[in-house]
């Protein structure tokens, strides 16, 4: 069983149509997401574990699971340090 990540309370993921990008919204903060960060965060549903997310992304991007899993973990840990994600 791998950790189940979720957005921190009162952090919102939304599409920013005016600028053609995805963003995380939090108190006094707007974080612009790149394609990979969005692909990871759009899979957070409070049930799916990190390993499952990595497996799905590896299939979608046709990349080795081990490599993707390391990237996913690093991205989520970075967002956790910023108080935007809970692991």
């Amino acid at each position: 069983m791998s950790a189940v990540p979720s957005l921190a309370p009162q952090v919102r993921l939304r599409h920013d149509a005016a600028r053609g990008q995805w963003v995380l919204l939090a108190p006094e903060r707007v974080v612009v997401l790149d394609e990979i960060a969005h692909a990871i965060l759009s899979r957070l549903d409070g049930r799916t574990g990190i390993d499952e997310i990595a497996t799905a992304l590896a299939r979608e991007y046709e990349a080795p699971v081990a490599e993707i899993a390391a990237d996913v973990r690093e991205a989520l840990e970075d967002l956790q340090r910023k108080g935007l994600v809970r692991l």
């Binding site: 309370p9 009162q10 919102r12 939304r14 920013d16 149509a17 005016a18 600028r19 963003v23 919204l25 939090a26 108190p27 006094e28 707007v30 340090r81 108080g83």
Partner: protein, 356 residues
């Protein structure tokens, strides 16, 4: 000229009415009366127009925004439009029931002001008996309601020595974020400047305390610190630059690049009742007057920092030099910098005007 980016934030000053009387209030000295305030439907239209324009963060402010009975309705429209909603409040008009109603309407974040860490001093600054105790109770209720909590304090001579205690209070109340901002000398604060201006040694000590606390609390509580302008040698990018990131709508619907801009003479600011937010943001003379770098005089025009600080604050240039189009005198390169240096050492005085 490069394309004008859409605004990120809208500061909606729903009302100037407020039960507190803080002498550093940044509202204009001539406060808007209740009869002059926009109605519910107009505010709701402003929320829809803001979202369509590209605004992501809504700051519901005032005065005290909870003085509006229709706050929930305005908030609900904003939330339906996908705006991230911040309520900037003194807290004294809110109770658990009202907070629950606001949360149900889609509120994300409460930014609660404190005036000091100790009740007696806090109530004296707020000019409101019992305010501090009510704020402390509300902070707990904000967390119980599942909302994000920021504590914010405006710093001045009367509370700067309590900055460590205010940080400890924010920790104790479980705030995710603390905003401690030195007084900006506009409106009431400019009139009361001699009573509010901290001594340079006090400023230095508080900087040291904040830097230490930031390190200690990393990952647990975000501390945003707004440094004191007058004690700096380079100006701040006021509002992130004129007409670059934010717009402000006053209680009567005047659209401003910053909340103090109406003090600038000779400017015509448009109203939401006559034009769309989009027309005002992109096309109005007022928003284009100090946008970008084309308006700049020397020393800004040839300065390496012209797209970092955008020439500083126009209202401060006006207040201290009489001309809003000059370099912000906070900048040590400004020919008017002596006015700032003199204010720091001017004899301290009493509060002249409690906000009414």
């Amino acid at each position: 000229m490069s394309a004008i980016p859409p605004p990120i934030g809208l500061l909606a000053e729903l009302t100037h009415r407020c039960p507190l009387g803080c002498p550093y209030c940044s509202n204009p000295v001539a406060l808007e009366k209740r009869a002059g305030e926009l109605d519910t439907a107009t505010w709701q239209r402003v929320m829809r127009e803001a979202a369509a324009l590209g605004v992501l963060q809504l700051h519901l402010s005032g005065g005290e925004p909870a003085a509006r009975r229709d706050l929930e309705e305005i908030l609900a429209t904003a939330a339906e439009e996908g705006l991230y909603t911040n309520l900037i409040t003194s807290g004294v008009l809110l109770d658990r029931a009202r907070l629950d109603a606001l949360a149900a309407a889609g509120l994300n974040h409460v930014q609660l002001s404190i005036q000091h860490a100790e009740a007696e001093a806090a109530d004296r600054i707020a000019h409101f008996q019992g305010a501090h105790a009510r704020k402390l109770a509300l902070a707990g209720q904000v967390r119980e309601a599942g909302l994000a909590l920021t504590l914010n304090a405006v710093l001045h001579r009367g509370n700067l020595d309590a900055v460590a205690e205010m940080i400890a209070l924010a920790e104790q109340l479980g705030a995710g974020r603390l905003e401690i901002a030195h007084t900006q000398y506009h409106g009431w604060a400019l009139r009361n400047r001699a009573a509010l201006m901290p001594a340079p040694a006090q400023v230095e000590e508080s900087r040291r305390i904040v830097a230490q606390a930031r390190q200690r609390l990393e990952g647990r509580m975000v501390i945003d610190f707004v440094a004191p302008d007058y004690h700096a040698t380079r100006p701040k990018a006021c509002m992130g630059g004129w007409g670059r990131r934010f717009l402000n709508v006053s209680p009567s619907g005047v659209v401003l690049p910053c909340h103090a801009a109406e003090t600038i003479p000779g400017m015509r600011f448009e109203r939401v009742t006559e034009h769309s937010l989009s027309d005002i943001w992109y096309g109005s003379q007022a928003f284009n007057r100090f946008r970008g770098t084309g308006w700049m005089p020397e020393p800004c025009r040839s300065c390496d920092r012209r797209e970092i600080d955008w020439g500083g604050c126009r209202c401060q240039a006006l207040a201290l030099t009489g001309d809003a189009a000059r370099t912000d005198p906070v900048c040590a390169l400004s020919p008017d910098h002596a006015a700032v240096a003199a204010a720091i050492v001017e004899p301290s005085g009493e509060v002249l005007a409690w906000r009414r």
